[in-house]
């Protein structure tokens, strides 16, 4: 336990001191190796990085990142936006609703929140500002609604969890649909309530013809999740192949719309390659820590310690949520999962918590970190693309954290929310 505390505490401290996350993970793990007496094993560090980064189970990640970036490049985000505008734009606070529903639809083709913010987000904030919404509200809402992305399939976070928990990607993808829709609904409810006392404009109602055109153009985005998920769930393709199919589908749409050029395709691929390298190297560096913890039996010590003090399932769930939300504020979701999951899973198993439900709780709890300072990657990104100051954005987003936290509590309290759909489609376990 001392080793675990030292390594995790050291990592958090290094991050707060401004050390880049990959280096902070590497340095704290290497310090842990020396503390545990493995300092003379020079092989461990490069070997574990190579083992961690080169996992076949994680091969789908670059493909889903690329699919999201290609969708942005071919202009599918504009079509999703126009479709949502035609459907809900005429309501009071119409563009705010568009923001939520467009993020939900975009989540069906992209697995990362940052793709939503960088692509669709720019469009949404620009439109909302032009229509008189407060810039910080528009930017904060866009960051908050991007949280739907990593819950709804295809999801990079869920692929990482599936690998760590030895769970079925198909089952987790199916389990993400209802919570994703619930998070979107909770934002809609929030906007409905806020718009009763804050003036928010309506957009002109779309004519039948405009609606038809927007729907026709939006169809490729609407059917994409079905193709991706259907391919995995019905055994036609593995998660990796589904990622490749999503890329092929994006390219096909770009060719049909004649909106994909070589430069856009190249830029999307270059961006995806760099982002994939960043995510996977974080996982690679975290593997050193994972190896050290496994060797020193830290998870077992942690589990027995927790089980001695916590004897009820709901207390453990509350503890997990509080811990992960707090850690998510300071740590990237992938290393947090890699470091903490081996510690938490044995305890969750001991309490009889389904790993699929636990995965959704962990994923959503850590996701909140994207939108919370000081780490808040989504806040930094949105601040850069919208020009709204980070501090203003960090304050504006606080009330917008209430809806996802409410859904998180629901998911933790009622396993049926996550398990109903996978059990229905794939059969109960």
């Amino acid at each position: 336990m001392i080793l675990g505390t030292l390594v995790i505490g050291g990592f958090v401290l290094l991050m707060l001191l401004g050390v880049p996350v990959t280096m902070a993970i590497g340095a704290s793990a290497i310090a842990g190796l020396y503390y545990a007496g493995f300092g003379d094993m020079a092989l461990v560090v490069p070997q574990q990085i190579l083992d961690g980064a080169a996992k076949p189970a994680l091969l789908a990640i670059p493909f889903f990142i690329l699919a999201g970036n290609l969708m942005n490049a071919v202009g599918l985000t504009d079509r999703i936006f126009n479709f949502c505008l035609a459907v809900v734009g005429h309501f009071r606070a119409g563009l705010a609703y568009v923001n939520v529903i467009a993020s939900l639809l975009f989540a069906g083709v992209s697995g990362a929140a940052t793709a939503d913010i960088a692509g669709l987000g720019q469009l949404e904030v620009r439109a909302m500002r032009a229509r008189g919404y407060k810039p910080e509200f528009a930017a904060a809402l866009t960051v908050a609604t991007s949280l739907v992305g990593p819950i709804v399939p295809p999801s990079i976070s869920l692929i990482v969890y599936a690998w760590l928990a030895n769970e079925s990607v198909a089952r987790l993808f199916l389990a993400g649909i209802v919570p994703g829709v619930l998070v979107a609904l909770s934002f809609i409810l929030y906007i409905r309530v806020v718009s009763t006392w804050t003036p928010m404009p309506r957009e002109p109602r779309a004519t039948f013809r405009q609606f038809g055109t927007a729907a026709l153009e939006g169809i490729p985005a609407l059917v994409a999740p079905g193709i991706i998920l259907g391919a995995i769930v019905f055994g036609f393709a593995t998660a990796t192949e589904a990622g490749v199919i999503a890329c092929g589908y994006s390219i096909l749409i770009g060719l049909c719309y004649r909106s994909l050029n070589w430069k856009a395709a190249w830029d999307a691929m270059a961006e995806s390659a760099v982002l994939s390298a960043l995510i996977m190297m974080i996982i690679g560096f975290s593997q050193i820590m994972g190896w050290l913890f496994a060797f020193e039996q830290v998870p077992q010590a942690f589990a027995s310690g927790i089980l001695e003090t916590i004897n009820q399932r709901w207390i453990f769930m509350s503890f997990t949520i509080a811990l992960l939300v707090l850690i998510g504020c300071f740590m990237e979701a992938s290393p947090a999962k890699i470091i903490l999951l081996p510690l938490l899973l044995p305890v969750a198993d001991a309490f009889g918590i389904d790993r699929v439900q636990f995965g959704m709780v962990i994923t959503l709890a850590l996701l909140l970190g994207i939108a919370t300072p000081p780490l808040g990657v989504g806040l930094y990104l949105m601040s850069a693309v919208s020009g709204v100051r980070f501090e203003k954005l960090a304050v504006a987003i606080l009330p917008l954290m209430i809806p996802p936290i409410f859904v998180l509590i629901l998911i933790a309290a009622f396993p049926q929310i996550t398990l109903w759909l996978p059990d229905l489609v794939m059969g109960p376990r």
Binding site: G18, P62, M269, L278, A384
Partner: protein, 190 residues
């Protein structure tokens, strides 16, 4: 997010050899970025071909997976230098940017020193690991070290990158943890 500026954009300007080294690292980074983009493009093309071939002709090629994994690993390992050089790594600098000049400089030096230490730890294991990886890969007729080599190449380049940053901050050629609202360069006209 705000991060340390490139020393070649910096305060009093580094000497010519340092500037050359920066240009060299930038050039290598651009080359690596092209290489990792091509790796991804080939991965997509090969696997798309395999999926179509399997669905239409009922034939799938096993070698495609092996090559995809090799390209995947190369993409990640070469990408390590690209994202570090492009300053795309995640940095929580919200506290550091609020520090006054000297503590901020010390924190910047410390962050670089940590990066240097980690790279040295990786490189320390290189000779042993590479000498153990002379056997051929399972389904590709290349020695296993071909897969690992890019990690060490990237580690050398990242080491150089952090060393240059360290020297630049120590000599006052660049500032650590620059806030978005302050000039990156002393005396800069903004």
């Amino acid at each position: 997010m705000p991060q340390t500026p490139r020393p070649d954009e910096a305060m009093t300007g580094p000497p010519r050899p340092v500037r050359h080294l920066h240009r060299l690292l930038d050039g290598v980074s651009v080359g690596f970025k092209v290489a990792i983009t091509l790796c991804l493009a080939v991965m997509v093309a090969l696997n798309l071909f395999n999926v179509i071939s399997r669905s239409v002709l009922g034939v799938a090629y096993g070698w495609i997976f092996s090559w995809t994994m090799l390209l995947f690993v190369w993409m990640l390992l070469l990408g390590l230098f690209v994202f570090i050089r492009d300053r795309r790594d995640v940095v929580v600098d919200v506290f550091m940017t609020r520090l006054p000049g000297m503590p901020r400089r010390v924190a910047g030096l410390f962050a670089c020193a940590v990066g240097i230490a980690v790279m040295l730890a990786i490189l320390r294991g290189a000779p042993t690991l590479l000498s153990l990886q002379t056997a051929p890969m399972d389904s590709i007729d290349l020695p296993i070290y071909v897969r690992s080599l890019p990690l060490f190449v990237s580690a050398v380049l990242v080491l150089l990158h952090f060393l240059l940053d360290f020297v630049a901050i120590a000599c006052g050629w660049s500032q650590a943890f620059v806030r978005p609202d302050e000039p990156a360069e002393v005396g800069a006209v903004e």
